[in-house]
Symmetry: C2
């Protein structure tokens, strides 16, 4: 309880300071009160103030200058507010983006591009050597148990480890609540199929990860986009309105660090969301694949933590933080668990491959996972902050950029005159892969947005952003 309370206090301080900076009370270049002063003034501990300042740093609002204190960042920051809340139309629609997504995926395979496009984790930050050692040891020491037919729900040792960790984000899952899947995408795909039938309406946050939009399309589901704020996620008012006016069969959110939006639904709002859907008896499919990659002090909770009726279907995976090529994800699908398990059996005929499951179970059990997570959180926080700052430096006025508190993607709203598909083409010709906003909405709500992958930060990344900024300027000017 204690640490929960102190987290709230430092977040409150940081949010208040953010407001003061954005309103100009603290101006760029100005020094903030020292940690000691602020501690006295707010009657909180030194460490709480330090946490608040670090949060502001990771938001790119202030910077520490050695021996001197914390300063509000360069003026151009003010020209780059967060993107506006999304405001899609009120009607559900069928999804069709296949061609464009295939194009974007093909870019990923081109080794000659600067890869700001696909949201792949930085392979340098995966525990490759450790995982390879575990796989080698398991293969050497094991016999036939690695090759016996396995049925869903999947390896018990892995389900035990996942259940154990669930306390960290407010759940108390049992191994029996969990079904292992082939990555997070299969988890979401199976959950959708468990509660929907072709033609059904699914209310989603918008923008939304295009892989999920594709799952909707291939199953003939209709997406109903709900306005979503870049900081705190889906609008509950808009969602309630949508539910009251449409036969919504399921709701789908990326509760922590939405891809591409970076939004996270605050804990209290998660609870309200779950209660709202309980009133209407509508299942919630919750994507938490990036939940472990948080930049704040504590793991954010999940909606599942507030689930009393078994309506929340929590989906996650180890693809972002351990290995995308092991293809291990999972879902805790509440009262739909048996149906998900059955669909898993009918679609892939058995459990996910055994060795990848056993490998992750061993990694989680042996205790290296948390130290690994601490390391990659620091790296991604730094890279995301650098990405935001660098966009700020090189992109023209009228650009807006997110300041996500986790994950590793940044969502950029370009000036209204810039078409992201045109920019995508120019960037590609210039050796840079980006993801145009088109693929994140079935009704094309984001023609002036791009998503940038901030997983890796190198000199080449910075040069690519500089070049990209020039292109955006050219497009702005040619339109003027």
């Amino acid at each position: 309880m204690k640490s929960k309370t102190s987290q709230l206090i430092y977040e409150q301080i940081a949010n208040r300071l953010t407001e003061l900076i954005e309103r100009g009370t603290y101006r760029p270049g100005q020094r903030l009160p020292s940690v000691r002063q602020m501690s006295r003034r707010q009657a909180v501990s030194i460490s709480t103030v330090l946490q608040a300042y670090r949060l502001l740093e990771s938001r790119g609002l202030i910077e520490a200058r050695p021996q001197s204190g914390y300063y509000v960042c360069a003026p151009s920051r003010n020209s780059l507010p967060e993107p506006e809340i999304s405001s899609p139309g009120p009607d559900p629609c069928r999804v069709s983006l296949q061609e464009l997504i295939l194009m974007v995926l093909r870019d990923t395979l081109n080794p000659n591009l600067a890869h700001l496009g696909a949201a792949l984790p930085n392979i340098e930050l995966l525990p490759v050597e450790r995982i390879n050692r575990i796989m080698a040891a398991l293969s050497r020491q094991s016999g036939r148990e690695l090759h016996e037919y396995q049925f869903p729900p999947g390896l018990e040792s892995l389900r035990i480890e996942i259940a154990r960790r669930s306390a960290m984000y407010g759940c108390s899952l049992s191994p029996n609540d969990i079904v292992i899947t082939s990555g997070g995408n299969e988890a979401i795909d199976l959950c959708l199929r468990a509660v929907c039938w072709p033609g059904d309406i699914v209310a989603i946050e918008t923008p939304m990860y295009f892989g999920t939009l594709q799952a909707l399309e291939t199953h003939g589901l209709r997406a109903l986009e709900i306005p979503t704020h870049p900081r705190d996620g889906i609008s509950l008012e808009a969602l309630q309105f949508a539910i009251e006016h449409n036969p919504v069969k399921a709701v789908l959110v990326i509760s922590n660090f939405n891809n591409p939006l970076g939004s996270s639904i605050p804990d209290e709002k998660k609870k309200e969301l779950v209660q709202l859907l309980e009133r209407y008896d509508i299942p919630l499919i919750e994507n938490d694949v990036s939940g472990e990659i948080y930049f704040t002090q504590e793991r954010p909770t999940v909606c599942k933590a507030f689930d009393r009726k078994g309506l929340v279907m929590l989906c996650s995976s180890f693809s972002k933080d351990i290995s995308p090529a092991l293809r291990v994800g999972w879902t805790a699908a509440g009262k739909f668990k048996s149906q998900v398990e059955w669909l898993k059996f009918t679609s892939t005929g058995a459990a996910t491959a055994t060795l990848p499951q056993a490998t992750i179970a061993e990694f989680l059990k042996s205790g290296g996972y948390d130290a690994h997570l601490r390391r990659i959180r620091r790296e991604y926080a730094r890279n995301v902050s650098l990405m935001s700052q660098t966009v700020m430096r090189y992109f023209p006025e009228g650009t807006r950029v997110t300041r996500p508190m986790g994950g590793f993607v940044v969502w950029v709203q370009l000036p209204d005159t810039v078409d992201s598909l045109e920019l995508y083409k120019r960037a590609l010709a210039g050796g840079i892969a980006i993801t145009p906003g088109y693929v994140f909405s079935p009704t094309n709500q984001f023609p002036h947005f791009i998503r940038l992958n901030a997983a890796e930060w190198t000199y080449a990344t910075e040069r690519a952003l500089e070049k990209l900024g020039e292109m955006v300027k050219e497009l702005t000017e040619s339109a003027a």
Copy 2:
């Protein structure tokens, strides 16, 4: 060409002798002409006659007695003809067998049962040590390439090996024709989704592997069962009639060693099937998962070998002969390849796990696969033959049993008074798992059939069959 012709000749001879034995021209206990006599009489080589006799042996019709020659088997053989051709009704129907299948699958996990139920490969016949050594070596020697994000169609090195082997069954696939899947079931599931939409009609061989019936059910497809002969598979006349009277969207067959029926479509008939479907422009989903486990001298071809218009979607996997827990299957889906690739991406978000793919590629490349296959073919041929003979010995008159030329399941038609679900329950109480015929037809065409897994042959297997035979007798008598 030469070996192709001689195969046909020895098969012709064996089939003629089978007829003569079944009509009683050669009677039980009688000696067949010696190999030398038969060679002169038929004007064929000694080795061709030997092949024909071996085929009859594996059909359980004759037996070799050392120093003496070949003799027609015991009289009870005549009371066990092959099951009749299936004769389902003419209307398509929705599929619903979930409960019963779950029950059968749960049995598989019970270590106290004699497992004649699920069609699992014999783990003693999997190359477990070799595969574990390869996995260990790859894990030790590899770096990040085992963990990079992979998109469909899957690992090129594996697709190259699969393409190379395709010549053995009459195809000339290129690596680009192939999409790697999570086992054979996913291959079939994706192919169905690529060409059908909920409500569509799929014509299938009946009986049909229940996993495929479940894929049809979960996608809301209607199955139209086509009469299928236990020896040569789907009836082309019935299929044509069905196509002319229904909007059939796809046809699905297990072309070699149907599970559970054991039927194999002869090469010439495969060609006719493909040509028939070409005329109506209907895709053929071809399941060949057991194609490598043949008891004849040569690998049977596949329908895909006769595909000129890209309508045949060949599906296979390495689950039966290498490891069911690596979850590696594949499909060569002809002109639907891109759609299958796309569905694979949207349902599992990426390729199948990398290490299992790389492991199988290495096993295929290093040349141990064919020697391994030769070994397991001999074992399975023996076990299947023993299973047929033992059913013959212990089951009452009126029982019919298949004599499959590959795979490892046997399909038993019980006397009409015996309900297979009743037998299933009694067998379970007696510590024996079997699969009742109910799960192999969505319209319950096979209430008096059971499927037996002949993958393993031990003393316990024989005792279990003896016990099972007693139960069948009791059920027959209690009905009389």
